[in-house]
Symmetry: C2
Subunit: 225 residues, 2 copies
């Protein structure tokens, strides 16, 4: 992995805000379509017609498109990070389960998020897929490690499933537990609407050796909130 993968956006703050408003709306619309196509019970003819129209819209979007993943851009400001493709919280990723507008850091540097997990995150009937809880907690613990001053890549992650996690409104919280050199331990949990802890996680995060010599990595991680 190359430390040079962080390019800096050429967008001005105004252009970035306009871009994000338009493409964020496109992603939210796609997210709503993903939910609707899961739940729909229209007849097969109508479903096939909508399918064709979706395909036509895809073709329009692909008339001008990059080849690969979005990656991460820095800027336009000195501390901003544009990781809009991120699978858990990317502005342009319709799979994202964390809405950055419902995420915050408290005075103790604990990262919190409120979540609404619908049928697209289902595992056992009516329940959140155990792997989705793992996905969310990996992101949360990584952010908490960075916010707490111990950024890194996930080295080990352990999930303890304490009780079933129902689909619907949930809360998640994560915090840095300890740091030793380039290694940090972060912990976190998911809670149901009644406040019961359903899943607990502990993760080991390791800062790659090359990153300790690369100022943009640490600045990026520290601005994750």
């Amino acid at each position: 992995m190359d430390a040079a993968f962080y390019s800096r956006t050429t967008l001005s703050p105004e252009e970035a805000a306009e871009h994000d408003a338009v493409f964020g709306a496109l992603t939210r619309a796609t997210r709503a379509l993903a939910d609707a196509q899961l739940r729909t019970e229209v007849d097969r003819d109508e479903a096939a017609k909508v399918t064709s129209e979706i395909e036509a819209l895809t073709d329009r979007l692909l008339r001008r498109a990059r080849d690969g993943a979005l990656g991460t851009e820095l800027g336009p400001g000195p501390t901003e990070v544009r990781n809009h493709g991120n699978a858990v919280m990317g502005l342009r990723n319709p799979f994202a389960s964390i809405d950055v507008a419902r995420k915050w850091v408290d005075d103790a540097k604990h990262v919190h998020a409120e979540l609404l997990l619908d049928g697209l995150y289902e595992g056992p009937p009516g329940l959140v897929h155990g792997g989705v809880s793992a996905l969310i907690l990996d992101q949360m613990l990584g952010e908490a490690a960075a916010v707490g001053g111990g950024p890194g890549m996930t080295g080990r992650l352990t999930l303890h499933y304490r009780r079933p996690t129902p689909l619907g409104e949930l809360a998640t919280e994560a915090w840095l537990d300890s740091t030793t050199g380039r290694k940090s331990i972060a912990k976190g949990q998911i809670r149901d609407a009644e406040g019961n802890v359903t899943v607990e996680a502990e993760g080991l995060f390791i800062l790659p050796r090359w990153a300790t010599e690369h100022p943009e990595w640490t600045s990026r991680e520290k601005t994750f909130e």
Copy 2:
């Protein structure tokens, strides 16, 4: 959680096949749109127009739709399971990363799948999100436990990240390691295109007490392949 959550479909085998062909195509089209809207660089006017058209299609699909998640249906045959909403491999879930057509069980009852993970699964630039690897391995280990005769719900899951997982073509494999009473240990891994193991996982799966008295749970789990 109620053991009565498995209803039996009223669709005949022919109706089920037709239904799945049409709604599977709708989901694949939505998946392609999700990818296109991530990568598109069309101008803002065109993006806004496509957004409006997506919203209109969503409205059409919601004219007749169920309220909540799909859950799991049994049938139409005696051993078939319709968990089409599943976040990792559901036929009607555009987030699904495992294509059941690229998944198989070998003679030793190891579960295998080939994966193509694109930009929608990104974490660090160019790399699979660590939580996405966890999501996939939770599903794979759960299936391997069931296929091996030790079905259950995830009790604990530990991921060891051995090296970065690049976006692109990957392979995953999981197997039942041991079973003691209602508890099973399953193990698995993700490998990159060169065959290097990038992530290893170990999971504890526990069969709920009520399920041991409920024949449909065990029959469902055993037909996961």
